[in-house]
């Protein structure tokens, strides 16, 4: 069982690495890049919102801050397009985290319901600031990032691999958080914050750190997307569509699980890219996207991954098969535990 899983993971990784070689068409690799970046953003969102249960609809704040930070750094240090801006990404991430700490400190003082609304308000403040501070952001005229000197056939390749690295890093951090004592604290906050506090979990600091980690990755992804597009406008850098898309991808896959957000993003992001490019009828993309979401949320309210896991467990139980491999039984128990934990939440 473990061998199968390891080989499966390696195969997926090999496929991801070889993807640009297999599909050279820039139209396809562009969709792939956006998919990887959205997957990264969703996994990062899940590190905070999924594990703690505080749903943030303001992640575009850090996405936009990342984009503007990269543009401003390139301008200030006179950096040309090419590989150099990729090296600035960790710095951009730190800048986004630096924004996240005071914002999180304010927003996390309130209850979960109010938190959602405050994140929306923060998002609007940043969008308005981007419009209203033309000295820094150049207002509604937008900013341009240096364009890389690569030809059209090669252009997407570096972006693809950098996006892949960011996604893998993000997923690794999410895995580490989920399996650490720190992550256990976050899950305790999600299930019962007061009890977690009384058991000695430093809830305030725990939430704030998760918020900053999440902002770090979302900031890097914002910078990458805007570097890839080449320009930056307040309405797109701070867009409500980003906030919502990320949350929906996570909900589709399963909020608070490790692989759920990844699965949700990998399914939804290509579809969304395809719909925006292909459909010429005004409004049809929104109708399809919205209906699909309604169907998913109402039919699979827990998300794809937890629902599948539950079905799998039930199917195995109904067959009455006790697997001789100890590991799989352990997994079943874990699934049942996870299920119990989630129901306790409702």
């Amino acid at each position: 069982m473990k061998i199968i899983r390891t080989f499966g993971l390696l195969a997926v990784l090999a496929l991801l690495l070889a993807f640009p070689l297999l599909f050279g068409d820039p139209a396809v690799t562009t969709i792939a890049i956006f998919t990887l970046l959205f997957a990264g953003a969703t996994v990062a969102w899940n590190i905070f919102s999924g594990y703690t249960g505080y749903i943030s609809l303001g992640s575009a704040v850090f996405y936009g801050v990342g984009g503007y930070a990269l543009a401003l750094l390139c301008k200030a240090w006179n950096i040309q397009g090419g590989y150099m801006p990729f090296l600035l990404l960790p710095l951009v991430g730190l800048i986004a985290s630096a924004f996240a700490i005071p914002l999180g400190w304010i927003a996390l003082r309130s209850s979960r319901h109010v938190f959602v609304v405050i994140t929306i308000a923060m998002f609007y403040i940043f969008q308005l600031l981007a419009f209203n501070l033309p000295g820094i952001t150049n207002g509604s005229d937008g900013m341009f990032l240096p364009s890389p000197p690569w030809d059209a056939a090669f252009f997407n390749t570096p972006f693809y691999y950098v996006s892949l690295i960011v996604l893998l890093l993000c997923f690794f951090v999410s895995w580490w958080v989920r399996n650490s004592k720190y992550g256990l604290g976050l899950l305790a906050i999600r299930d019962d914050e007061e009890r977690a506090l009384s058991l000695g979990v430093k809830t305030g600091a725990y939430k704030l750190v998760a918020f900053a980690i999440s902002a770090f990755f979302i900031g890097m992804i914002g910078a990458l997307v805007n570097y890839f597009i080449g320009s930056l406008y307040p309405a797109f850098a701070f867009s409500p569509a980003f906030d919502i898309t990320v949350a929906l991808m996570a909900f589709l896959g399963g909020v608070g699980t490790l692989v759920g957000p990844l699965v949700g993003a990998l399914l939804l992001a290509p579809l969304q890219q395809y719909l925006t490019v292909q459909l010429q009828i005004v409004g049809l993309d929104l109708i399809l996207f919205g209906s699909l979401l309604l169907a998913v949320i109402l039919l699979l309210p827990e998300g794809i991954v937890p629902s599948l896991r539950k079905t799998w467990t039930r199917w195995k139980a109904s067959r009455g098969v006790r697997s001789p491999v100890a590991g799989s039984r352990e997994k079943e128990e874990k699934a049942l535990l996870a299920k119990g934990g989630r129901e306790g939440n409702g």
Partner: protein, 291 residues
Amino acid sequence: MTLIIEAVVLGILTGSVYALMASGLTLVFGVLDIINIAQGILVIVGAYLSYTLEKYFHIDIILGLLVTIPALFLLGIGIEWAFMRRIKRDRVMISILVTFAVALVIEGLLNFIFTPNYVQLTAPYIDAALPVFGFYLPYIYLFGFLLSVVVLTLLYFLVYRTKFGFGLRASMQDRTAAALIGIDVERVQTVTFGIGVALAAAGGMVFGATNPFNAATSYDLISRLLVIIVLGGMGSLRGALFASLAMLVISDIIDVVWSPVWANVVFFALLIVLLLFRPQGFFGRLEGRKQ
């Protein structure tokens, strides 16, 4: 000085219209535990309905309310029946997503039917204005104010003076206890959702007459409405009224003394400062409702 008085008067008049839309939102939250993100787009649906009636059937926009308010009431009941009722677990969070998805579908439909071009409602009295204290007050703002006062008074009587309102407030306090003393909580919830959406129709007519709108305007609208209900305290009708007036008056004053571009920022910033000291809003209860 005249400018500031004008700003305050206009702020109160438009604030009353926001109070209409926000009380729908806060009422639904109080009774159903649902944050209805679709309220913004439903306001726009109300505006478009008035627009259609006016343009194709030549029905005056105020008379048209007799059609649009019941129509949106029914739409609300339909939405509640089709989607809200199915949410059993983690209502607040799931409802945000469901209502957002509903809003997306409606936005797509509106874009498809009416195209994304901006429109505005027209009526003979929209451009006319009444001179008071040295400035001109457009009649439509006065009509909007009167409409809001009438509708909010009716709502007050419905909630505090009728048997239905008794059931509504009981379900707001404790759903289980309300069900135990024989209140049909499900029916109360459905009707409340309908009323919340119907209030959007009334607000939408005035909004559409005073602002050019398209389907995407709903994003700006819902963010303001959410801020209003948080400021007032979620689930509090009094709070929604108070916060709407405060918000519009403050942002109109900033608009004239400083600059229109900062009016919104200052408002959102004030919200954050307030929440630092009073996380539950002006009239909210600190404790979440225990179910």
